[in-house]
């Protein structure tokens, strides 16, 4: 079966003023697969991830060169609305960040401002089911989201993301603030989510990358302290027989 790529980058560099934080990334993100980005701190993983939904637009002095295509369309093209980009490409952060509202409103709010006109109750239920949270919260939808545990809050954030029906979900260390059980729940959930969405995840937890992802991109900084993808391959290969010595050193914990 021919592979379909949701995102393709070529020669993608991300600059903060004169400094090139991420250099010349060429990668293809396969549709409805999980792609992990790994690498030591400061190698530009999160910067790269944030470029995928133009979150870096908020950082003064940050600009990109090269191409970032979503289904062949340049996401940084002149006629592209960054808000629309972020609707198509949702994001889940390291720390769960629910709105100070009820569980129900956390889901419905984003949908409403995105002009959702359908049956809101249905959407809330579907989204919560999609995030494997429905059974736990169905009787307390009007309670504050803050009353939920950290793991539940993170799943609520995922539910909120899928409520606006994105194509791609970016996850920046989605489980690093969670306990092991909540972490495994998120990982299981990711396997469900990939049936409908394309997922990109940044993680420091190598076992997690090895467990959840189909493809892995290994990033590392060069002499100019610019980060780049030094190896991109099937996850199975990256963690059993990586091609690059630096990847080997990193995944076996001998980096540095």
């Amino acid at each position: 079966m021919e592979k379909i790529y949701a995102i393709e980058t070529s020669n993608l560099s991300i600059h903060y003023g004169n400094f090139t934080a991420v250099k010349e990334v060429a990668m293809k993100v396969e549709k409805q697969k999980i792609t992990a980005i790994i690498g030591p701190s400061g190698c530009g993983k999160s910067t790269l991830l944030r470029a995928f939904n133009r979150m870096n637009d908020f950082v003064p002095g940050c600009h990109i060169t090269g191409e970032l295509l979503l289904h062949g369309q340049n996401l940084y093209g002149k006629d592209i609305d960054p808000v629309e980009v972020r609707r198509k490409i949702g994001m889940v952060f390291q720390k769960p960040n629910p709105f100070p509202k009820s569980i129900y409103d956390n889901i419905s709010w984003g949908a409403k401002i995105n002009g959702f006109k359908g049956n809101m109750n249905e959407l809330v239920e579907q989204s919560l089911r999609g995030a494997a949270l429905w059974d736990e919260v169905k009787d307390k939808l009007q309670q504050s989201a803050y009353a939920l545990s950290g793991g539940q809050q993170q799943r609520l954030c995922i539910a909120r993301t899928i409520a606006i029906q994105p194509e791609i979900i970016l996850m920046d260390e989605p489980a690093s603030a969670l306990d092991p059980i909540s972490t495994l729940r998120i990982e299981e959930l990711m396997q469900e989510l990939k049936k409908n969405y394309t997922i990109l995840i940044v993680t420091h937890n190598m076992q997690q990358a090895a467990r959840v992802s189909d493809y892995t991109a290994m990033m590392m900084i060069d002499d100019q302290r610019s980060g780049g993808v030094i190896e991109f391959d099937d996850t199975k290969k990256i963690f059993t027989r990586p091609g690059d010595k630096r990847t080997e050193d990193y995944v076996t914990g001998r980096f540095g």
Binding site: M206, Q207, A210, F239, T240, R241, P242, T247, E248, V251, T252, G253, R254, F255, G256
Partner: protein, 221 residues
Amino acid sequence: MIRKTFEHEIQQVKDEVLALGSMVEHAIIGSVEALKKRDFKASEKLIAEDKEINRKRFDIENQLMILIATQQPMAHDLRLLASTMEIISELERMGDYAKGIANINIRMGEEKLLKPLIDIPRMAERGASMLHRALTAFVNEDVDTAKKIPLEDDEVDELYTQIYHELMMFIIQDPKSIERANWLLWVAHNLERVADRVTNICERTVFIATGEFSEINSSDG
């Protein structure tokens, strides 16, 4: 160096594998030696010592499992630990072959050897020598040596074929010798299997070092 503890523990496991290997080597040579001398006591001792081999194998397996659980190995480390699991199981089976030979000596009882043993001790020496060098190659992850050792399996196979024909001649000439010939054929067969398992160890060594699974086929050389 980061992961100093882990490196140290890996080294310990390798040392243990070498120790297990030398027990097996000793058992292979010893079992044939005892047969040659028709020394029942020595064979009984070897049978008892096989329990030590089995115990050591489980000890190493346990060490490996603890390392896998606590160190969560990746890439080369993972290949090394997983393959070592295989290698110790090969060694344990080789120990069983030696024990089998010791058993044959005892079961033969007062019956005389059909013929003086010449090629069978050669097979045993060749197998034990291959094993010794294969484990050195394993510890050093010496791919070149690991690829060469299996080529010697042809010589072991030739000795086996020679013994087989010789024993068949005995049987044809005197059907009463069937049982005694069969004992020796069984011994030779066990020794032939030893060399085959050395090849498996060498293949694992190549895998650990390169990440490539390849069958080293002796006759294709």
